[in-house]
Symmetry: C2
Subunit: 444 residues, 2 copies
């Protein structure tokens, strides 16, 4: 029996509030955000009804409204993870391989286990709880090739009333037995999942060809057909992560100009397409992504762990034709569920290229920035009336090491940078999903 | 009143024991370590009296001996951090600068506060407790220019009976008022500190010219004189971290062949010299370090955070003239006190260069490897009779994310890699210093 967990009675949440309005250009860009030192968010039926100064918001509501007082902590929109693999929770920290060997040696064997629906259900629940524990309220997730794995994840998300985007992976070659579909079954299973789950609760389906290496031309055509039949859907796949991958993809599709052109040819670029990695793009490929308004997804912990390379975030943001960029964990190539840890590694990847990512921009990226990249900004990513009530409550003194450092913090930007550089799941005091406090209810 | 905290009554510690014998060449190199699945360590007067199978060790001791049972956890020699800055606890996570600006804008202002002996004492205590919390039992640490900062750190280490190497920084130029000594006062203060602290308890003094940029030729000569008068002492300094630093150092010493030659000229290379960073060394410089048996200290979180560059660990280990290498946090350029987090970042730095560091080698590095690099391997770094009783007790299921992953762990190498990739201070169940459990006694 599936039931949604929306809280029906109103709740007034109190704390310091931070919500972005636009991409911050520097640590001094005060026009890019709204900050309330004693703020209130009135939540009803999982949605923000009012937000602002606590006294003002409080004056407008009846005496009986429950108040969740999180002072002195900082409340922001829940974090968004734009790329993660649910079936790879037990692949994190697999040693010693670059992308293609890592897939063959570790990932594919782990994913074969998701033929077992009970395993899929157990891991899907762990996966969403783990995201909540780390302050993430929305994810764009890959399931395994098995329809049951997507059923499990959608069911778990519906139970938690989480806004997620997910899809069953389509892959019909270059994968072991038990982990391949066919062009027809991949299409049929995706179609059935779309019918059953897309638009239910807060769920969205994403057409999910894993990457060009594991899909035949026939499957790419079928994925393109699905996309044409369902222009409202997201598409998620991988692009230009590693040199050996690029070479193999181009060898498998010799008629295409380059790796990006494979996806473009089959109608898989566009404003709702999320391309994981995009590390080694040529200028031509970057232009194709920009022209099609496709999204390049930055996965720093994964790119470092697998030695894939350095995503040139500032080049993509500053070039003539700007790219839409999202940030993501890429668990299990990525090594941590936390968007704080992710942006700390992101800062380092950018620093190695002689650039900096200012802390306001980093927190914009994982909230409003990712919401925009996922075309979800009318629903989540900001503390605004009418937006869904997904929040994260942050404590920059959560650990002894942070406490010592926090003594000398004076500005909001310093607080954010401390959270990003030293924070982990302990810095997440609470995670609200559709207005309901979820982290504090988890075991362990 | 200073008193050492050595535990006098014997203690029998039980758990899985891992201690390295040599540098592991692969994850299969079983000859490189000793592993006891049910091991015992008998500790008396802060020293290991016997180590081996628990039943055998237990049979040899009287009934009244206290047993600390850490099963099923893994016990290793305490971690060693070969380079950290005590006065930089409140500098971690300072935004947006490369090395020289980072020093001028953040580090030097923070270090001026250590003219105040009470501030120095408070932070010195926090610093050692923080290391203990993260499983580190020995550190080579920089203090500030102020003699009182070194007094504070040595006093705090003596109270905890920790084996540390430390020294007051010598710097007589290119630093603000209140943060410069003179060639003579730097020499005199160092000399006084050596007389008072070196060899007391488990303390060692390190001659500590910060780096060539902040020492005049006169001060470099005085540092060389100290080194000649005290060949038993360590020397610690910085070398080849960042391109602007290298250029400035070479400009300040135009008669020297290169940056390394500056230190070599003043008699500051040698088997007890610890050179922090060594990222951009020429082959000639690497040869000088190799010929002099100097140590190159790898500081991955710092090198990534400041965007300094990638330490070529495998080149240094595999070149014709091998370099002695240590690993270190470099707090506060480094962002984490944990040697687990450090080696995770180290793995990534090495992966970006197309190489891998196997997990056995990583844990060798932070125990026996660092002990050898610091010429302390007759005292610490291994579980052997006669070695000092510094241990770390590790739990690879310490967090919910690790628990899910640990379900599929089968080998010791996998367990170590999981600890390194996902572990933090929560994975440190206990830290023993001179036979005394110290972490569990800390607040917070």
């Amino acid at each position: 029996m599936i039931s949604r967990a929306v809280s029906k009675s109103p709740l007034l949440i109190r704390g310091r509030l931070l919500s972005f309005l636009s991409e911050p250009e520097s640590t001094d860009d005060e026009a890019s955000y709204r900050y309330e030192t004693d703020g209130g968010i009135l939540v009803r039926d999982g949605v923000i009804e009012a937000v602002g100064d606590f006294a003002e918001i409080g004056a407008g509501v009846g005496k009986g409204v429950e108040v969740a007082d999180h002072r002195p902590h900082l409340i922001m929109p829940g974090f968004i993870d734009a790329h993660a693999h649910m079936p790879q929770m037990q692949v994190i920290a697999s040693y010693g391989a670059e992308l293609l060997d890592w897939l063959n040696n570790y990932t594919f064997p782990a994913e074969t286990k998701f033929a077992d629906a009970s395993h899929a259900r157990r891991i899907a629940g762990h996966f969403l709880d783990m995201l909540i524990r780390h302050g993430t309220t929305t994810v764009a997730a890959y399931c395994s090739v098995h329809r049951a794995s997507a059923e499990a994840l959608f069911e778990a998300a519906l139970l938690r009333d989480m806004r997620i985007i997910a899809g069953k992976v389509m892959m019909d070659r270059n994968a072991p037995d038990g982990l391949r579909d066919t062009p027809q079954s991949g299409y049929d299973d995706s179609k059935a999942l779309i019918g059953r789950w897309h638009g239910k609760g807060r769920l969205s389906y994403a057409i999910t060809p894993r990457f060009a290496i594991t899909s035949t031309a026939e499957q790419m055509e079928m994925a393109g057909a699905l996309a044409a039949e369902h222009p409202e859907l997201h598409i998620q796949t991988h692009l230009s992560e590693n040199h050996a991958e690029i070479a193999l993809a181009e060898e498998l599709f010799p008629d295409r100009t380059d790796y990006t052109d494979i996806y473009d040819h089959y109608g898989l670029t566009g404003p709702k397409t999320l391309f994981g990695h995009c590390i080694h793009l040529s200028e031509r490929e970057a232009d194709v992504l920009a022209d099609s308004e496709s999204v390049a997804v930055f996965c720093p912990t994964s790119n470092l762990f697998l030695g894939s390379g350095l995503f040139d975030y500032q080049r993509y943001r500053k070039r003539g034709k700007t790219l839409r960029v999202a940030a993501a964990t890429d668990v299990g190539g990525g090594t941590n569920y936390s968007m704080l840890r992710t942006m700390d590694e992101g800062y380092k990847v950018i620093a190695l290229q002689g650039e900096k990512l200012n802390p306001l921009a980093a927190f914009w990226q994982v909230t409003l920035g990712n919401a925009q990249a996922l075309s979800l900004d009318e629903r989540v990513g900001a503390l605004e009336p009418g937006r869904e009530a997904d929040f994260v409550v942050l404590d920059a003194s959560a650990t002894p090491a942070m406490q010592v450092r926090a003594e000398t913090i004076e500005t909001l930007a310093e607080e954010l940078f401390l959270l990003q550089t030293m924070g982990d799941d302990r810095a997440i005091v609470e995670t609200y999903v559709a207005g309901k406090p979820m982290k504090s209810g988890l075991e362990g």
